[in-house]
């Protein structure tokens, strides 16, 4: 168990709130199913953020419970198959704005501590 834990990259320990934000942001492009969301985040970060399904699905269900996304089984375009598509709600859109600004503040605050010279110049 402990040996496995070492293998997991540190960067994967995403803060829960951050994952929620990333999912919401991804859904801004349009409805997507779980696999697409995970793949999208992974691709956009050049595989820096390896999506763990173990946290993706709980996160999706949590967002749905809070009313920030809705879900529906729909035919995928070009495939003869149904997927569970998640769609951003109006409430989710607002939440994204809130989380984004919080994250920005946080990042700036961290940056100010880490690179004080850059701030002064």
């Amino acid at each position: 168990m402990s040996s496995m834990a070492k293998g997991i990259p540190q960067r994967a320990n995403l803060l829960q709130g951050t994952l929620d934000m990333l999912i919401l942001r991804t859904l801004l492009y349009g409805p997507a199913h779980g696999h697409q969301i995970g793949k999208h985040i992974q691709r956009t970060t050049n595989d820096f953020l390896q999506m763990q399904h173990g946290s993706l699905y709980p996160a999706l269900h949590r967002l749905e419970r809070r009313g920030w996304v809705t879900s529906k089984w729909e035919m995928a375009p070009g495939r003869n198959r149904e997927f569970k598509y998640y769609r951003l709600t109006e409430k989710g859109r607002k939440q994204l704005v809130v989380e984004e600004s919080e994250w920005k503040q946080m990042a700036e605050a961290v940056a100010r501590v880490m690179w004080p010279a850059a701030e002064e110049s």
């Binding site: 173990g54 269900h61 949590r62």
Partner: protein, 864 residues
């Protein structure tokens, strides 16, 4: 959340995961992997599907339910492992909760539930100063002139048991009837179940000779086997034809509200227009306030009206209307007793909790390693706490099943105890309120006793928990003070209860010890009113002579007398005075009137203080005489010998004797003034009760007396002998009720406290086995070890007892009103309780102390 929604969600999640997994697999295949490799790669990328499922579950709100069920299952498994302590816990929770619920159901019936009438909040009881009843004339005037009441109604406060003889329907039998005013049932809002109430016409006749009657439900069921056709039937009551016009509903129990302990069989109309209505204060009054009228304003109006009436009618008795809400009148007297009982139950429950807390602590102690392991595996602090609490609540719920049984059976038994003449006792039953209370008490108990042990759980840190070896060392000496505090509080609470119970037992004994002024043992009474009219006084005298002579001849009977009213069973009072003396109208002496024959004093064992008793020659033709009791003699002729003096009664009667005072309001009431008239010289009595003193059990006599009296009255109805002891018991019953319940609780508390201290001491002896072993190896004698343990026991017990005594001093005011002849801080009682508790503690401590002194040092040292 409904289970089918859960199932639906599960299926949905399953489908989602599967479809995404397949997609992943597809993508892997597109990269050129073989289909099998692709599946493995997909699974690897996906992670553990079970874990995903579980974590997703966790975001759904019913996770707590799952873990609750899990805790519950675990808790039950734990209980099965520890059968002994589980049974013990269930037993004491059951008894505690059962007792609490029983008391609650009594409290509910007497104090919480509204009276079984329409809008009972508007009903008030109107007494006349200290006395129960008012003159009927005053009632009529008050009713007409007031503006505060929607209506006033009344019933005869002077009826007595067995005043009606019913013939023409089976065996002749004696029943109890109450005359009520026409509007009585309407005012209370009671509709007859069958038939109707009285009409105006039926209330025009003569008092005591009713043309119609209404039956009580219980009488109708018993005597007429619930026959609905009885309404409209003509029966013969005291040789007068009377029509049954209605049957009251079962919900209306006159007796349980207004005359606890005396069942009422029928109601007859009280004609208010009748000019021959009974003299004196005879009417008990209830009123219904107009909406919006307060008790105070109604009281003020009545006071003004009463003043006017007294000036307008100087010939009438005085009137001082006093108004209390009916509810308060009915159950107000029981309130302090019930409040004490509720507190007692609360205290018992606290002791139960302390005991269980202790038990649970020991259990958790042995599971320390398990808890530490769970914490190490990631169980949160709150999660562990919740599990321990779930277990204790589950335990107390098991106990509650037993408690529920007690709670259902207890009130039912209580309700049927006619031995207790408490108001509304028959309506004591288990209703939804009681059940809610039981559930609440159970959960509260579980949480309370589980809380303390549960709060200690998180402090078992991983390292300590896993390191400490075995259950023997599991006690966590850190919590020693907490265990000690539990035992000390148990002793304190038990001490408080015991002091209360001991005080009430003492009061009960003292009330029993009161010299009632007569000797109830071996005295019995039987109604013998003739079933025919006796036209002349001479014939009445002959009848009395005949009865006394025949009854005296019955074997086993030593003395015989006749009276109209028995002690403790109804009263009638008149104004009396010394002849020639003028009294202030507001301060006129009055006395209870008894009409008796010769032999009465001897039969009841009432002591003659001076002068002589009545004799058979005190009859209509001889000088009018009277016998007074000591109080009346003192009131009318202070400092003088009453014998030979004249009272103003009937134009002047000579006092021939003075007898001892009789407490006829019960042992705890002072005896008032009494005047005895010879039955042979007056017709002013409404009942004839044969009083006998016997050497045989009274029950066996009834038949032979009846046989002896049959020749003079062939229609003599079948009635049971009423023992005077029975009357005394009835008066004492509220106190006995309280003493019984409270002693039960106190005994239970004592048992629990002694078990608690025993458990603690024997636990600490187990803990200290090694230490004791070392001490003994170093040369400590077994006596010293024993002494050591006993000292500790005694110290804990004393600490508790001192606390309890201080509490009982502090609370002494609250119990004072319930005590009789004893102070709430009676030193003998308190020192007795202290002694009892200390000796119980010593016995409980002696067993482990002995075990400690037997410890083999070598073995003790080796085993650790």
């Amino acid at each position: 959340m409904r289970w089918w929604r859960i199932t639906k969600r599960n299926a949905d999640l399953e489908r989602e995961l599967r479809s995404d997994l397949e997609l992943e697999e597809e993508e892997q295949r597109e990269r050129g992997l073989s289909s099998e490799e692709a599946r493995y790669a997909a699974l690897r990328a996906f992670g553990n599907p079970t874990l995903i499922r579980e974590e997703t579950h966790a975001t759904w709100s019913w996770r707590w339910l799952e873990s609750f069920a899990c805790d519950l299952k675990y808790g039950f498994r734990g209980m099965r492992r520890n059968v002994g302590s589980t049974v013990f816990a269930i037993l004491i929770v059951g008894l505690g909760v059962g007792g609490a619920s029983t008391v609650f159901s009594v409290v509910n019936a007497l104090l919480l539930r509204p009276l079984p009438f329409r809008d009972p909040g508007q009903l008030v009881w109107i007494s006349n100063g200290e006395t129960y009843s008012t003159q009927a004339e005053h009632f009529s005037d008050l009713r007409e002139q007031n503006h505060s009441f929607a209506d006033l109604a009344g019933w005869s406060g002077t009826y007595n048991t067995g005043n009606q003889e019913l013939t023409g329907s089976g065996e002749p039998e004696r029943f109890t009837s109450v005359p009520v005013t026409e509007n009585f049932f309407t005012l209370l809002g009671v509709e007859p179940a069958i038939g109707r109430s009285f009409t105006k016409d039926e209330c025009q006749g003569k008092y005591g000779a009713p043309p119609a009657m209404v039956l009580s439900n219980s009488f109708w069921r018993r005597r007429f086997a619930s026959d609905p056709n009885v309404v409209g039937r003509k029966l013969t009551l005291n040789n007068q034809p009377v029509t049954v016009v209605g049957v009251l509903p079962a919900s209306f129990d006159f007796a349980s509200v207004f005359s606890p302990g005396t069942p009422i069989d029928m109601f007859i109309p009280w004609p208010l227009t009748d000019k021959t209505k009974p003299q004196g204060n005879t009417m008990a009054i209830v009123g219904r306030l107009k909406p919006g009228v307060t008790d105070q304003s109604a009281q003020a109006e009545l006071a003004v009206l009463a003043k006017q009436l007294e000036t307008q009618h100087p010939e009438r008795n005085g009137i001082k209307p006093r108004l209390v809400p009916l509810e308060q009148h009915v159950s107000g007297q029981m309130r302090p007793a019930l409040v004490v009982l509720m507190w007692a139950v609360g205290v018992v429950m606290l002791i139960v909790c302390a005991n269980l807390s202790h038990l649970q602590l020991a259990r958790i102690g042995t599971r320390q390693r398990e808890m530490a392991m769970r914490a190490a595996l990631g169980a949160g602090r709150f999660r562990l706490l919740r599990q321990v609490l779930t277990e204790s609540v589950a335990l107390s719920c098991c106990g509650a099943v037993l408690g529920l049984l007690v709670a259902v059976v207890g009130p039912r038994e209580l309700a049927h105890l006619h031995a207790f003449s408490l108001p509304l006792l028959e309506s004591v039953r288990v209703d939804e309120k009681t059940l809610a209370f039981t559930v609440l008490a159970t959960v509260a108990t579980g949480v309370l006793f589980g809380l303390a042990p549960a709060l200690q759980v998180p402090s078992y840190t991983l390292r300590e928990g896993l390191q400490v070896a075995g259950p023997a060392a599991s006690g966590s000496r850190r919590y020693g003070w907490f265990r000690d505090a539990l035992v000390v509080s148990e002793f304190g609470l038990a001490c408080l209860l015991l002091v209360g119970a001991a005080l009430l037992i003492q009061s009960f004994l003292r009330a029993l010890d009161v010299n009632l002024g007569f000797e109830p043992e071996r005295a019995a009474a039987l109604r013998i009113d003739p079933s025919f009219q006796i036209p002349t006084a001479a014939q009445a005298n002959a009848f009395i002579d005949d009865v006394l002579q025949r009854a005296r001849a019955v074997p086993g009977i030593t003395t015989v007398g006749i009276s109209d009213i028995l002690p403790l069973d109804g009263d009638r009072s008149w104004q009396v005075g010394a002849k020639g003396q003028v009294y202030d109208k507001n301060n006129h002496p009055d006395a209870f009137i008894r009409v008796v024959t010769d032999g009465y004093f001897e039969a009841l064992g009432i002591a003659l203080k001076s002068g002589r008793e009545f004799t058979p020659s005190d009859r209509e033709s001889s000088d009018p005489v009277v016998v007074v009791n000591e109080t009346l003699a003192r009131t009318l002729w202070p400092g003088q010998d009453a014998v030979g003096k004249m009272v103003s009664q009937d134009g002047g009667r000579r006092v021939v004797g003075v007898v001892a005072d009789v407490h006829h309001g019960g042992p705890e009431r002072l005896s008032g003034a009494e005047m005895y008239l010879p039955m042979r010289q007056t017709g002013d009595y409404s009942a004839m009760t044969l009083v006998v003193r016997t050497t045989l059990p009274p029950d066996s006599l009834a038949a032979s007396i009846r046989t002896a009296l049959r020749p003079i009255d062939p229609n003599l109805p079948v009635t049971k002998f009423q023992t005077l002891q029975g009357l005394v018991d009835r008066v004492m019953s509220p106190r006995r009720f309280l003493v019984l319940l409270l002693s039960g609780f106190a005994g239970f508390a004592l048992l629990l406290a002694s078990l608690g201290i025993y458990a603690l001491i024997s636990y600490s002896v187990n803990q200290r086995t090694k230490e004791i072993g070392i001490r003994m190896a170093m040369g400590a004698s077994s006596w010293l070890v024993q002494q050591n343990v006993l000292t500790r026991t005694l110290r804990l017990a004393l600490a508790g007892v001192i606390l309890g005594t201080l509490c009982s001093f502090a609370l002494s005011k609250s119990i004072e009103s319930l005590l009789f002849g004893i102070a709430p801080t009676d030193p003998a009682v308190i020192s007795g309780v202290i002694l009892l508790l200390c000796s119980v503690a010593l016995v409980a401590g002696y067993i482990p102390a002995r075990r400690a002194s037997r410890i083999d040092p070598m073995r003790a040292l080796r085993t650790e």
